[in-house]
Subunit: 143 residues, 2 copies
Amino acid sequence: MNQHANQKPDYEREMRRAGVRITRPRKIILQILGDTDDHPDAMEIFQRASAIDSSISLSTVYRTMKLLEGMGAIHRHAFDGGRARFEQASGEHHDHLIDIDTGDVIEFHSTKIEALQEEIARELGYDIMHHRLELYCRKRRKG
Amino acid sequence: MNQHANQKPDYEREMRRAGVRITRPRKIILQILGDTDDHPDAMEIFQRASAIDSSISLSTVYRTMKLLEGMGAIHRHAFDGGRARFEQASGEHHDHLIDIDTGDVIEFHSTKIEALQEEIARELGYDIMHHRLELYCRKRRKG
DNA sequence: TTCTTAATGCAAACGATTTGCAATTGCATT
DNA sequence: AATGCAATTGCAAATCGTTTGCATTAAGAA
């Protein structure tokens, strides 16, 4: 389901190079992340992984997400609501519009907003290390 | 410490009107919130309250924060890092710049950014219900 | 002052995530 | 292909922030 035409990064190669073992659970999780365009949480990933290999544990999902995050392979998001959600790090930076009714996430990017953010931080004497812009929305009813 | 010259809202009156009892713990917590300009978390509020009346419990702090949030008296923020942080709701809408080294929070507002957000959501067919813009920053070293 | 009920403190429950540990398994080595 | 060992796993228990059940206390109306 991954429509991104961009070069799919070869995380297995990168992991090997980092001396990290390519295990069965990791292969499966990597495959799941590569096959989706949505922003699943650990439990969803765990369930999708369980369907492929029922012996995988939730701990391993969490540990793998942390590993991949450390490698820069995925991004972790703390949208409203309990669980962290993850997305593959391929592609450029973007912000998120969250449909509060469905949980759907739409990615967007605004160079103008980013520039304004930089300007604000600079005026306050700060450098932005990272930022978070989330629009919690409801579908506009036509009319 | 509250520098806000704006009318300090009388939450006790409002609570009374809503049929909510003005208890000793609530008085103390309200006083703490009114006396600060920072964004304390529940534990900090609990500790400040304990210094005034050591019998206050953390549960009551949480319950009171929820009550006040429901009244619109405070806003709850989920900045990076475990705990929720609170601020008095007086004043206009603003976003936050968080100093990742000290945890300090600076409030700012950009009409331009807000307008751009609206534009983006509109183009995607959504109405913004609420949003979140947080800049995680480090003090610029002079040079 | 009495009375009713909301509010409290405590401890236990909670949901998401992390961790200790013994058992397993990549994989570099023979 | 067999060996060895550290990295990784699954499991259960622990952790962290927050919420909740319940018996007790105390607002505040009568």
